[in-house]
């Protein structure tokens, strides 16, 4: 494929799926401003490197990889756990939700959860994005489910 037709494809992806990219980036970096920045950087990186795309997989997964990497680069150190969205002091029942549970998952599990449920990618696309085996995606997602299930059960028991 010609470099400029790749550019068109990347632009189409940007226009059609911006919010999916933004949601995943927000999940990784923790706030909306940094997430917007990561999406812009991720797409810019994909454009710069489009000549190196070998066409042996979907370009979408390749762009996802660029955005995820940009978000990971931008993420701050996890000294602080964020438990609620900005600008609110919600009632405790609302706060004991999924965000802190997902935030406490190991990094790979978190990435797989974001890509599965925010980005709506299938296992193969997640594997392409994170450069891991499809089987690893499946196992990682199962582990994440187990952890979340356990934590949710504990929350229910606490209540």
């Amino acid at each position: 494929m010609h470099r400029d037709s790749r550019m068109s494809e990347i632009e189409r992806l940007y226009q059609s799926s911006y919010n999916r990219f933004l949601n995943v980036a927000r999940g990784i970096v923790g706030n909306a401003d940094a997430a917007r920045d990561a999406v812009q950087d991720g797409f810019a990186g994909a454009i710069r490197a489009r000549g190196s795309f070998r066409g042996d997989g979907p370009i979408e997964a390749w762009v996802w990889r660029s955005v995820v990497n940009a978000a990971l680069k931008q993420r701050r150190p996890r000294l602080v756990e964020v438990g609620a969205p900005a600008g609110e002091s919600p009632a405790p029942d609302e706060v004991i939700g999924l965000a802190p549970l997902v935030a406490s998952l190991p990094e790979r599990q978190r990435l797989v959860v974001f890509l599965r449920y925010y980005a709506d990618l299938d296992y193969r696309a997640i594997a392409e994005t994170l450069e891991i085996e499809v089987g690893t995606v499946s196992a990682t997602l199962a582990s994440a489910h187990r952890s979340i299930r356990r934590s949710l059960s504990e929350v229910k028991a606490d209540a």
């Binding site: 454009i47 609620a84 449920y117 489910h145 299930r149």
Partner: protein
């Protein structure tokens, strides 16, 4: 059992926030340095203009300062003293193939506040090296080398090999906010200069009295008692009325933002022409006795040697003094995104010469993503990076594409390779070719420089303010580079600091930590949080109040059981005792 999939989907959709209008594509293009489908002619014109600008800049530097002929083919300075020559020969005696007749040249000598400084230099094996020695009330001896090719292509009138090396410890200390550090006797910066450079001026982040000595086409800048919180920010060379900055990698200072340096785009081919995966090093797999056995003098590199399955000493480049120890050994506690099932790692260690570099990779999948492995190691002085590693049998040749000066071949023998690069070279691209000359892999390195979008850090020159002090310690804050807040706390003489992104209302911005004696909670809470309730893993619950929105609380392990000291949850309570924020932490 809970069916978590719909729960996760629903919750994440809820948390995702409303849809935003599509982002700014023009901004993406600007960040990519791309224009919307530029015409080929225009792109070529732009490229030609950029090249012309570089050539003009290089010619201007050469015209004003001369080249580096003295270093490339002449004899800078004067012969070193017999004592220094003898010390130099002792150091280089073990260097394989290094010409023993190499003469050390004395470049700069200086005496400042009871310390005698001497900078000597030599050229050999394709590199220039500076040997720096301090004796007297503080002492040190070190060697710093860089590829000679960098001087041939240099755009700047100098090459820095060491920035802000702290020499000795004085009796006094320096305190900046939460941190107290010993003040060095002096901080030293040195490098080589183009033939025509007459003066060098040094600027620090905060003013500091510096003496700069220029002689023998080299310079040494000595700043007695430089605060460890202060660093060199600019080095300028002058000749007559002309002056030009010498680029260098600034040293990091505690409690300061890492300094980023703008780099050009990497050069070289970016398209892989043949995809190879799952490569191997057959002689290694067959345990062939290539190279030589690892001599006793280098056995310490292999640690205790326990469990080492195979180790050989190879020569990646016969024209260079460095050797490489390659080994298969237990992975131990090494973590490669997971523990290794076979508990084996393959390591390469560069030894016996000017450069040091180490890398280890999981055995069995070291070539799973590229046909060569690579580890980057910053050399002492912070100005030279060495990339080294092993290439699979699929790789026939390798090339280095630096930012300046065109591609350079990389020696590759017995699958080992290494390459040294300075800031002038960065970013570098290392390209691997197969026997048909097709590109089979490439990697770009930007050295030790932090990425342009770094973590928030204390803003440049930020002053730390003490916001809380109690029986356990103190909490300090400083503005961060992203407009947020950095929080540091001191306890038992130790300091811990972290910078959050911009302060978020409705969130407990807490740092949690523990060592063998204590666990602690420190940080900031929103104004409406009047009490903090902390839940430990063992069921214990502790409540305490913030002071001016800051908290610092310490748990003594001796009063707790097992790992029960781990903090698993923190609640923020309002003035009426109602829980308004709940945050959970990993169990």
């Amino acid at each position: 059992m809970l069916d978590v999939e719909p729960v996760i989907k629903g919750e994440l959709e809820h948390l995702a926030g409303g849809a935003e209008p599509a982002g700014d594509w023009a901004d993406v293009l600007a960040r990519a340095g791309a224009r919307r489908r530029p015409g080929r002619g225009r792109a070529l014109l732009l490229l030609a203009a950029a090249i012309a600008a570089l050539v003009v800049a290089a010619i201007a530097v050469a015209a004003s300062f001369g080249g580096f002929q003295s270093w490339l083919s002449g004899e800078p300075g004067k012969p070193a003293s017999p004592n220094q020559q003898a010390a130099f020969e002792r150091v280089t005696r073990s260097w394989h193939g290094f010409p023993h007749a190499t003469q050390l040249r004395e470049l700069v000598t200086a005496d400042v506040r009871g310390v005698h400084y001497e900078l000597d230099g030599f050229r050999g094996a394709g590199s220039l090296c500076l040997r720096f020695v301090a004796t007297g009330s503080a002492s040190t001896a070190q060697l710093a080398c860089a590829p000679l090719a960098d001087l041939r292509a240099a755009r700047a009138p100098g090459l820095v090999l060491q920035a802000d090396e702290a020499i000795g410890k004085s009796a006094s200390t320096v305190t900046e906010g939460p941190m107290t550090l010993p003040r060095p006797v002096a901080a030293v910066t040195f490098g080589v200069l183009a033939d025509g450079v007459q003066r060098v001026a040094i600027t620090h982040r905060r003013p500091a009295a510096t003496q700069v000595f220029v002689a023998g086409d080299a310079f040494v800048a000595i700043t007695p008692g430089l605060s460890p919180f202060n660093v060199t920010t600019k080095i300028v060379a002058s000749a007559g009325k002309a002056s030009a900055a010498i680029p260098f990698v600034p040293s990091g200072a505690p409690l300061s933002a890492p300094v980023s340096v703008a780099l050009p785009k990497p050069t070289g081919p970016i398209a892989v022409q043949r995809k190879v995966t799952g490569g191997a090093i057959r002689w290694f797999a067959r345990r062939e006795q290539r190279g030589t056995a690892v001599p006793a003098s280098l056995q310490s590199v292999l640690g205790t040697g326990k469990g080492v399955a195979f180790a050989r000493l190879i020569t990646p480049d016969p024209s260079q003094p460095e050797r490489m120890i390659v080994s298969i050994r237990p992975a131990g506690s090494a973590y490669f995104g997971g523990r290794l099932r076979n508990d084996r790692q393959v390591c390469s260690e560069l030894v016996g010469g000017r450069y040091q570099a180490t890398g280890c990779w999981p055995a069995g999948r070291m070539f799973s993503t590229a046909p060569f492995t690579s580890g980057l190691e910053v050399q002492r002085g912070g100005q030279v990076d060495v990339v080294s590693g092993l290439a699979s049998d699929d790789v026939a040749t390798m090339k280095l594409f630096p930012a300046i000066g065109g591609p350079r071949p990389i020696a590759l023998h017995d699958n080992g390779y290494y390459v040294a690069a300075t800031l002038e070279d960065l970013p570098i691209r290392i390209v691997a070719y197969d026997h048909a000359g097709r590109v089979v892999g490439d990697k770009v390195f930007t050295g030790s420089l932090p990425p342009p979008h770094s973590f928030p850090s204390p803003a440049a020159g930020a002053r730390w303010t003490k916001v809380l002090a109690n029986k356990w310690g103190s909490v300090y804050t400083a503005p961060s580079t992203d407009g947020g807040l950095c929080v540091a706390f001191t306890m038992d003489g130790g300091t811990s600091d972290g910078c959050d992104a911009k302060v978020v209302p409705g969130v407990l911005s807490l740092m949690l930590g523990s060592d063998t004696r204590y666990s602690w909670v420190a940080g900031q809470v929103p104004a409406n949080v009047r009490r903090l309730r902390v839940h430990l893993r063992n069921g214990r619950v502790v409540e305490f109040g913030p002071i001016h929105r800051y908290v610092l609380y310490r748990f003594d392990h001796s009063t707790l059981v097992d790992h029960g000291y781990r903090i698993i949850r923190a609640d923020g309570l309002d003035a009426g005792g109602r829980t308004i924020i709940v945050q959970r932490y990993g169990r």
